[in-house]
Symmetry: none
Subunit: 196 residues, 4 copies
DNA sequence: AGCTAACCGAGACGGTACGTCCGGTCTTTGT
DNA sequence: ACAAAGACCGGACGTACCGTCTCGGTTAGCT
């Protein structure tokens, strides 16, 4: 997010007010009905100040969401399936209304806006993928996972089903279904005895 | 899609012109810059006529996409992995610009519009899921798949990774990566010798 | 005032509401604080509708003033000086607050906007000059004025002092001063006995 | 023009830069498109510095114009009509683009801003009226003018026509027309033999 | 000669209005 | 009688300036 004006002189209080107003209104109205005007009014800030620091509504929401959901590292209790279960439960919560309004709106917007998509990937997703991979490598060291498991593929198998259901409105899995999903996904990466 | 006016008196030529204009403009401008006004102008039709038969831009695009992409049954050559490879290649093409513009836009819009989401699922997705399940049951009969395989889970494992990559702009897999994805997904459903 | 959209389909009620709102707000706020937004809000009209038919705030005010002050022909009682006195009294009233707000604002704006200046001259001023000249020619026929009097010059001598005072805020003349002004101006055009 | 800050510490170089930038930009853009921001940028000065010393754009332009056009006394060659002709030629030049941009803009602004109007009258106009009256009294002493001529009326008759034409965009007089105007105006004040 | 108050540049800020775009509704007109 | 054409209200857009307000840094003039 390149900033032409001098970031040193930026008003932190305005920034906070904007991000807070954004999350509040997004929860109230939904991402689609959220407007830059409403954010400015709610935050007691001029529209110019928003446009000075962010290129679009999506960018503001991205920062607000990022700001809210600081990177929560994947838990590591030693039980890989249980750890994913709790991690995915958190993710599903973030994608479910009312809290999900911001994140889902962001995903929708990024599908249509390449710049926002770039920022979404680099600022929100990459760090979480890194956290995922770290946990997976730990599992490999623990012998719970094949040492040559392809982590890119694993990422898709574990998280993909959630987003597939989100996208086509097939309903989020309940705890039991989630367990089944994880079991199946991990099955593809079980350590195997050397095939003779 | 409830239609208040008498559908019998509907002008088929207007309908065709609208759907054709929609696809043309969507490819040219992208879904986001597509407007109802532009569709009306391009189709030589009054805006009123569009709003008479469709509730929103998304509904028009949905019908246009549905109209274009008739349900193609999953291929059945006897080689399950190869069949999915060709099927998924088609799906990826439909999600990749320029052709992907309409479908991806539709997905984005549906994330924010419950009515459109409903129609998208029921008109576009359900029949394709049915086709998927049919192919899977065939594979079960062929002994390539565990007879008790959970097809809902399988759907997520096979299609999920594609949409996960779409959503977070992680890049569509090439042919080789696609093969690896399918192999891993199917591995979870291999018929197993009865565990003693 | 060229109108691109089809004037036949124009809503007369909107036009009236806009012109009425313009005069009302201009009297209340003064021309300078009058805004297109406020006119639209007061008239219950979309800003687009204003911009569809007028190029600028000034053009709206011009039409409103023109609409209000239909051409009042110069009175003709037979007494030229008295007729001018009553005519100029009317003009001075139109240039004095609160009623004068619109006209003076218009004059100020036209000084900076060539297009508006053109319309102001052609639509408001020219017909009134014509009326002036008609009255003067009558006076010539009546022998109250030199038959070769230059009417352009007379126009400036009679009306100029008023606007000179307006422009430099020297105060409008009272009835007595006005009489003196007119007497002096007309003195330059008295019929003269052939100088021997 | 009340100045709260200490005028002794005022930076003369900033003042000069501001007035120079004002005249330059006013000629380039016209008074209407001139902005305080642009003046500040062009002068390499902070907006604050402008607002510290002047209450408005108009006040800056007034000072710039005043600064430029020092009061030139009415010429006195002995030929009253010729003297006015040369004086009015200068005035007309000051009211004609490009040079006229500042003065005309100032007049326009003052029509809407009472404070500016006050300053315009007192700083620019009054001294010039005084100069006019001085020349007129000289003419009275010379016997070219009725000794009881009303100089207020004379001022209006001589200068009014110019401003009347300016205001309604009737075109500035050429040299010949100007001569005619002056002749007619002065005719009202010719010394007359005592009417019997 | 050093201190300190002020003016200075820079420019971010809350605002207001701009003129445009498009959504969705309603009206007119011609066939 | 219908549907094209398109005017209409509404509301958000992103921009331009306004006039105010910190900031450090410099500078002038009084200790």
């Amino acid at each position: 997010m390149p900033e032409s004006p001098n970031p040193l002189r930026r008003s932190e209080s305005s920034r906070r007010a904007i991000l807070d107003a954004t999350l509040k209104l997004c929860a109230e109205l939904g991402y689609g009905r959220l407007t830059v005007e409403a954010i400015a009014a709610q935050a007691g800030v001029s529209k110019k100040t928003i446009y000075r620091w962010w290129p679009s509504k999506g960018a503001v929401v991205l920062e607000a969401v990022d700001d809210m959901a600081a990177v929560a590292a994947h838990p590591n209790t030693g039980d890989l399936a249980a750890d994913f279960h709790s991690q995915l439960t958190t993710v599903i919560d973030l994608l479910t209304p009312p809290k999900g309004s911001a994140a889902v709106g962001l995903i929708a917007e990024a599908l249509q806006d390449a710049d926002l998509a770039h920022d979404l990937r680099e600022r929100l997703i990459r760090p979480r993928i890194a956290s995922f991979e770290e946990r997976m490598r730990q599992a490999q060291r623990d012998g719970q996972l094949a040492p040559d498991a392809d982590l890119d593929v694993a990422l898709g198998l574990i998280y993909g089903p959630i987003y597939h259901r989100l996208i086509f409105h097939l309903g989020m899995p309940d705890a039991e279904q989630l367990r089944t999903l994880i079991d199946h996904a991990l099955r593809a990466f079980e350590p195997r005895p050397p095939t003779q």
